[in-house]
């Protein structure tokens, strides 16, 4: 997901300063990316170029499910990316910038939550471990 966040920043630059189309911008992102995201960006970019009349969100959906294995995305992440794709390319530069900003923020929050959850879980397991240790001791006594 950190990789996707970085891509968003690049995308914002391509849209705002270069005025590139989504298809062109994603093609460049694909070239610069070294992860599985490359395949996703490439797929979307090619689909947008070959049949621009297709539904943008559906293209992303297909791309994400096609390459889901290598991506290790959580359900929340997928939802955020699909929401992002729904608004992508539909407005002026200001709106595009906003869409990227909101998506970026949502991804960060999701990440923080996931980390908090992980911490909570690890505390719980540590607690459980401790308790079961005591239990074992009690049983042995």
């Amino acid at each position: 997901m950190a990789e996707f966040q970085r891509a968003l920043t690049e995308l914002e630059y391509s849209i705002e300063f270069m005025g590139m189309t989504i298809g062109d911008a994603l093609m460049i992102l694909a070239k610069n990316s070294e992860t599985e995201l490359e395949s996703v960006f490439l797929y979307v970019s090619e689909r947008l170029k070959s049949s621009p009349g297709s539904d943008m969100q559906k293209i992303w959906q297909r791309a994400l499910s096609k390459y889901s294995e290598g991506l290790a995305l959580k359900k929340d992440d997928v939802e955020i990316i699909l929401d992002f794709s729904k608004n992508l390319g539909t407005g002026n530069r200001e709106k595009e910038k906003n869409n990227i900003k909101v998506t970026s923020m949502r991804l960060r929050i999701a990440e923080d939550e996931a980390r908090a959850e992980l911490e909570r879980n690890s505390k719980m397991y540590r607690g459980l471990g401790f308790l079961s240790g005591i239990f074992v001791v009690i049983v042995l006594m």
Binding site: S54, D55, E96
Partner: protein
Amino acid sequence: MNNRLAEILNYMPEHLKRMLSRTFSVTGDSVQEIRIRNSLPLIIGTQNGSFAVLPDGKISPAVGGAYIVETSDIQRTFRAICENSIYAFSEDIRQGFVTIRGGHRVGITGRASMYDGKIETFREISSISIRIAKEIIGAANDIVDKVLMPDKILNTLIVAPPMGGKTTVLRDLARQISNQGIKTAIVDERGEIASVFHGVPQNNVGVQTDVIENVPKAEGTVMLLRTMSPQLIITDEIATKADSDALMQCFGTGVSVVASTHGTSAEEVMNREFLKPLFGGMGFKQIIVLTKEGKGLNTLILGKATVIE
């Protein structure tokens, strides 16, 4: 169905694509335009007149039973012609049309959303009309001898009504003159003459032709004059005072100019206020009014020249 039509269908949602590909397999090359109007019948314009498209792709001269365009159809098509990147086409949208791959022109109307006194985008789109560009090699056969003299190229204004073949003639004129070794430069404000895609003109505009695209005429002509040392500058649709001012900069620099404008007769054009300064002196030496003869693939474009004293 030819490639050009197939290319256009890619800009449409799947069900319209299917419907129209059936239509085009019957009508073939005679299709000139597609009109998509919100909540109204889907219409195609052909050389034999307009027809409504039925849901099964058949065509009918009456609109009863025609496929009725849905709001989502029109929105999807609009997004697609903007390559799903509306922000990148705001300048074109402001002018009311976008040129898509292949040089086809797509007109857009609807309720505009204004910002700072300028059209920013269309919030609600009511109509989209797709005009199919045609490259006709030899379209300028009747005109080229009137423009290209043995020792010079006459400054010429080409006049015809909309769909009268102006762009087609300019394109072929560029090809024929350029292939005779004359350095030709095209200021293609909307990418309709040469239709450059990824740096390569999609239409044959000759071996000695340089194209500058998507640049306002004024800037485009000055850039070409300065950088490419052309012998001939070709540009289409002189429609505003700014366009006519751009041409004024070329006259007198030794470069010949061939341009086009909407109209039906030489007198009418000569009386148009913003065009007046372009006639006489160093300016246009002749006006050629185009007429079409015949139908379909046998269409001949003829030009009647009026010399300006």
